[in-house]
Symmetry: C2
Subunit: 331 residues, 2 copies
């Protein structure tokens, strides 16, 4: 295993220390609990937003802590759910008296552990609500999931719900918009290569030199099928067909072309060009977009497409200022 | 070769089409010349900034076109200098009557071709000045370079000179600050893996499974030496020692920990933590930083460290608003 790390046991702690050192204006890190919180702590009267999950998907989630997005992120071990104690600590840390929203990617361990933490928070008198993100159209159930996996839409949910919370909306409203974003979003991912979890020391799966995996999950879980390598525009078409079969590609869309961590940005822009042309042919419009590494799988090569059907409200919230390590604009 | 592309011959055009589709508010693309220009074209009375070089280093340079940074970027073929005609077209396109600064990474072909374009621009009555960036301390001469290579400091030069040009400073002043940033900056890069140029179809070089290349260039040019894989903190120490041997690590620093394209962001943050701790031990202070993929080598795994000794002026210009695909803050 050839990695730029100190040791497999310290990768999460080392990454959090680096995040804290790089962005003291945005975040602070509770080292004991491996929780990233917004610099300055809980905001009185504001709904707190907590997310988290296995590490290895950076900038998700720690890179989305800051003004206009998350209040805290819980970092599990690589590709491993955070434990309830982490989520409980994060929930307490960001509670400003208006309740806390848990944004959970739909993996069995994540859902269980966030719900246990919600019970513990209730014992502390903290009201919580949850949104379970499940936007991946590739497979119905998978290795770590009952129902659909939660992937790229998580970035949209965190940004849009974060903007509404920043405006002072109550917990029920913030939870409603978070669920609406999830319901309006669909994703499909493709892997060209595997990735290596540091503690495992070897690639999660094998792919032949001329083979890709269609419908891959963000932990290398199997997708729908393996297929021969094809031109990018054909792979993009397969991904968009899978999404369109589940929800029409119509109206104004927010579209993310996301790199899995090891894909050249040059190629992600090439793929976005293909996505853009295809969506235009299908009669829809890309009103907003992201192109880059936003929810990754370590050094995996590949990409995912996430599409959200926008409304005026969602567009306004998407455009609202955000100041995080991973997303930053306006203010 | 397993890549997310349509065909080796179209990778640059496809990436530029995607960049244009993603950021119509920021840039437009001259498809014939493969030149990315700022949306809205030349700004009357403002010094124009033109950079460019081989493709495959994205977001450099096209991702740095926009308010507060470049006016145009010329995209050569992958790892290949842009031709004089491209640079000439870009220079004309952004000339607002106050002259044009050429920001050139020190590679023999780039320098020659920018200078030929400068002569052609002079024939058109456009005044130009140039800064040749040569911050890489690893080797004195290399495969494509007489003298030091230009690498990470290019990002700093483009940002800081761009901010000064935006304030309406004259060409001589913008060129002066660009050269000052270069003179105050040093870089050192490390590769864990090679990368594959699409037109070549096979890795640029081979590295054994337990071996890294210290002092690598951004095209996979040989560095100083090959060494066994070591913990990240030791690799970081080697890089900082090389930089410190050339320019003291003292005072307030702008530090970039840059990914080569295929390195997990998690590991880049881990490396930044090590850089941060080491620089503190050496008695200097990281006043500003960047962590992420800013000047890449396709899907190469590895990283580089770039350090710039700040002054009050440079810090203010660094903090000035910027709106590009690759760097974006404040306004």
């Amino acid at each position: 295993m050839k990695k730029l790390i100190n040791a497999p046991e310290t990768v999460v702690a080392d990454a959090l220390a680096g995040l804290a050192a790089a962005h003291p204006d945005l975040v602070s890190v509770d080292t004991a609990n491996k929780v990233v919180t917004r610099a300055g702590g809980a905001v009185a009267g504001k709904v707190g937003l907590v997310s988290g999950g296995g590490s290895g998907h950076e900038p998700l989630h720690g890179g989305y802590v800051g003004y206009g997005m998350l209040d805290a992120a819980c970092a599990g071990e690589v590709f491993t759910s955070p434990v309830p104690g982490q989520v409980h600590a994060a929930t307490k840390a960001v509670s400003g008296g208006a309740g806390v929203l848990h944004i959970i990617k739909n993996y069995t361990g994540d859902v269980l552990n966030f719900r246990m933490a919600a019970e513990d928070a209730a014992d502390d008198g903290i009201e919580t609500a949850e949104v379970v993100v499940n936007d991946d159209v590739a497979v119905q159930d998978s290795l770590y999931t009952a129902g659909r996996r939660g992937v790229g839409a998580t970035v949209f949910v965190e940004k849009i719900a974060g903007a509404l919370a920043e405006r002072g909306a109550p917990l029920g409203e913030v939870a409603r918009v978070a669920r609406e974003v999830n319901e309006r979003s669909r994703s499909f991912g493709v892997a060209l290569t595997s990735c290596t979890v540091p503690a495992a020391g070897q690639p999660t799966f094998d792919l032949a030199d001329d083979e890709i995996e269609l419908g891959i999950g963000i932990h290398g879980e199997p997708g729908r099928t393996r297929a021969p390598l094809a031109p990018a525009r054909e792979i993009v078409e397969t991904a968009l067909d899978a999404i369109a079969a589940d929800q029409p590609l119509a109206g104004d869309l927010l579209v993310m072309v996301n790199g899995m961590g090891g894909t050249p940005l040059m190629d992600l822009y090439g793929a976005f060009g293909a996505v853009s042309a295809s969506i235009a042919r299908r009669g829809a419009r890309i009103a907003r977009n992201l192109v880059g590494n936003y929810i990754t799988s370590l050094e995996m090569q590949g990409f995912s497409v996430t599409v959200c059907q926008l409304t005026d409200e969602l567009t306004q919230l998407w455009d609202a200022p955000v100041q995080t390590a991973g997303l930053r604009w306006g203010r």
